[in-house]
């Protein structure tokens, strides 16, 4: 094991953890907004995938990473708009629609990719890294943590921002009420459906950005089904975090680390079948769920459509 822990290995491991963790962070934070407002957003996997595809195509043709992320966010929000229409406005089953949107997005993005690029997988240029002055020079840790694309820092800054929104703004109160006691929000004169629609769209946007980051920065290309359950991991993060954005950050670091072990082992030249390593993040998820099962919390109105006048 001592030979494993070379500086190069540690740097690669940490760098990979950030790259793998950021989409999870964005998805987890997004899902948290939905769940707070009482919508169980199973379609988030589809939103990420739509974001990944839209983001890749936009970045590929425009050459701009910014355009890629905006398009990714909009792609995710587009799928989320369907979710909001069917589940929030019409009160249809959130699980059925969530599965439908995930399957639909999987099929549609793969199909579009096939017709656009046939069997080739064009790559984007490496994403420009923004090295934080001073911090990036720290040995081992510096290049691993402080030399990333700017979206990474933005995603991390989102954590305190969301915490502030949840605690200190009317928006935060409204989201909380929509999930805990929607009738109370309604009686206070704020539309429950509008609040939830906003929440779902925000989820879609964040998840879509996460997907776009995965494609444009993490991989540099789009592959069908490339999110591989990251959206579902986001749901787990939101479940375990119980409304606290900082816990989503901690969780996404843990999951990101286990995801990045795959690449890190390859860098170190360790010969383990990739499938063994691929099991790691999911093992970690199950382990966390088993350990913290008692403490996972979801709002009482989660999954239930709101109809004024009925309880």
């Amino acid at each position: 094991m001592e030979t494993l822990l070379t500086p190069a290995f540690v740097t690669a491991l940490l760098f990979g953890a950030v790259t793998a963790g950021v989409p999870l962070l964005l998805a987890g934070l997004g899902e948290q907004v939905s769940e707070k407002a009482g919508v169980l957003n199973i379609g988030i996997e589809g939103m990420m995938l739509a974001g990944a595809y839209a983001g890749f195509v936009a970045a590929y043709y425009s050459g701009s990473f910014l355009a890629g992320f905006v398009a990714g966010g909009l792609g995710g929000a587009g799928v989320a708009a369907l979710m909001a229409l069917f589940c929030v406005r019409l009160g249809m089953n959130q699980i059925v629609i969530g599965i439908a949107l995930t399957l639909g997005a999987e099929g549609l993005t793969a199909l579009l990719h096939h017709f656009q690029f046939s069997r080739s997988y064009p790559r984007l240029d490496a994403a420009p890294a923004l090295a934080l002055p001073g911090l990036a020079e720290i040995p081992i840790v510096g290049p691993a943590l402080f030399s990333h694309h700017w979206l990474v820092y933005l995603a991390v800054l989102l954590v305190p921002l969301l915490a502030w929104v949840f605690r200190r703004t009317h928006l935060g109160l409204n989201l909380e009420a929509a999930g805990q006691m929607p009738a109370a929000l309604d009686a206070a004169g704020i539309g429950v459906l509008a609040t939830r629609t906003f929440a779902v769209l925000a989820t879609g946007f964040l998840a879509g950005m996460g997907g776009a980051y995965m494609a444009n920065v993490g991989a540099g290309l789009f592959v069908p089904f490339m999110t591989g359950g990251a959206g579902f991991m986001g749901i787990v993060l939101a479940m375990l975090a119980r409304g606290r954005p900082s816990w989503v950050l901690v969780g996404s670091i843990v999951f990101g680390l286990s995801l990045s072990l795959t690449t890190a082992f390859q860098v170190a030249g360790v010969n383990v079948p990739t499938d063994v390593v691929q099991m790691l993040p999911f093992l970690m998820v199950m382990l966390m769920l088993v350990l913290f099962a008692r403490h996972s919390g979801l709002p009482p109105a989660l999954g239930l459509p709101y109809v004024r006048g009925s309880r």
Binding site: L103, A105, L108, M279, M286, R294
Partner: protein, 343 residues
């Protein structure tokens, strides 16, 4: 309008809408939808070889549907069918060739089927316990176990169960004479008959027995189940075991009937695809046979179409997504109409 006619309409409308919307997708991609659907129909239903393949596909799909019916009627979202199915398939494929020399064909088939069911059930144990004891949402846990199971299946194929004689990693092969018997002169195997019998039995179990009624009470109103003195925890675990066990049986039958071996990265992903069929049938075990047949035609025809017409099988995923959306939409509109006319 009679109730039967209304029921038929409620199921045909979403299918028609999904096929229509799918046609628009094809048009947008520059493919001719009429050609495509006609080809699918011809290959999946109207040629003898296609029809045999379609009917053969019924076996795993019906067994998985049977498992989903049990779970959904009990209000449990077993979304981990793919992992349960695959692991059972791999264990069957490893066990079959090893046993057949020692105990002969039919005992091997029986042992393998039972082992497949047991493996499937075992893979649902953790979500079942977490749900029964802590009320942990099973959607997430079963999905996670499914991802885990898919990877584990590959690990098993590549390491302990690898056939040393092949270059591509796969398990040893159960030879055709040792597999499930074929029906008459066709390529259809006896597993299809088993699957039809099983789904009918499941239907009777859910509608005509005390056990089925208990599961349905738990599914419709878990608090009422507690009030009525039902042991919800034990029923939850039983539901998971039965549901996942049937999925596992599906995996075993697919191997014993069709493939005889599992290759690395093989994953037909029947699990999520069967969900809309079960919903279309409104959890009715008899009605689901028709929908599964329809879907099998699409699947077989779609596979051929991907080779011949350049429309990848991903299109089937889109169709399934559309089907679910329209199904929920029609259900919603129907509900609204009944609310308005109720008096």
């Amino acid at each position: 309008m009679s109730r039967v006619a209304a029921g038929v309409l409620r199921t045909l409308i979403p299918i028609a809408l999904a096929l229509g919307a799918g046609a628009l997708v094809l048009l947008a991609l520059g493919a001719d939808p009429i050609d495509y659907y006609a080809f699918v129909l011809r290959r999946g239903l109207l040629t003898w070889s296609g029809l045999q393949e379609t009917i053969t596909k019924l076996a795993p799909l019906l067994l998985i549907s049977a498992g989903l019916i049990v779970a959904f009627r009990a209000g449990i979202w077993n979304l981990g069918v793919d992992g349960q199915f695959l692991l059972a398939a791999v264990v069957t494929a490893a066990l079959g060739p090893a046993l057949v020399g020692a105990i002969g064909r039919y005992p091997t088939l029986i042992v393998c089927a039972l082992a497949g069911a047991a493996v499937g059930a075992a893979w649902s144990l953790l979500p079942a316990i977490l749900k029964a004891r802590y009320g942990l949402n099973e959607i997430i846990t079963t999905l996670m176990m499914s991802f885990l199971g898919t990877s584990l299946a590959n690990v098993l194929i590549k390491l302990p169960f690898k056939d040393p004689a092949t270059t591509v990693p796969q398990t040893e092969t159960l030879l055709v004479p040792d597999r499930l018997p074929r029906l008459f002169d066709s390529t259809i195997h006896a597993g299809v008959v088993l699957a039809v019998i099983v789904i009918l039995l499941v239907h009777l179990l859910m509608t005509r027995t005390a056990f089925g009624l208990r599961l349905q009470v738990v599914g419709a109103n878990p608090r009422a189940a507690v009030h009525a003195g039902l042991n919800v925890g034990r029923l939850t675990i039983a539901t998971f075991a039965l549901s996942a066990g049937l999925a596992g049986l599906g995996g075993a039958v697919e191997i014993l009937g069709v493939w005889g071996t599992v290759r690395a990265d093989w994953n037909p992903k029947f699990g999520l695809l069967a969900i809309p069929l079960v919903f279309l049938a409104r959890f009715n075990g008899i009605a689901v046979i028709g929908f599964v047949f329809f879907f099998a035609v699409l699947l077989i025809g779609g596979e051929s179409a991907s080779r011949r017409m350049g429309v990848p099988t991903f299109f089937i995923l889109v169709l399934v997504g559309l089907l679910l959306v329209f199904l929920a939409l029609v259900e919603y509109l129907d509900h609204r109409r009944r609310e308005r006319t109720k008096s």
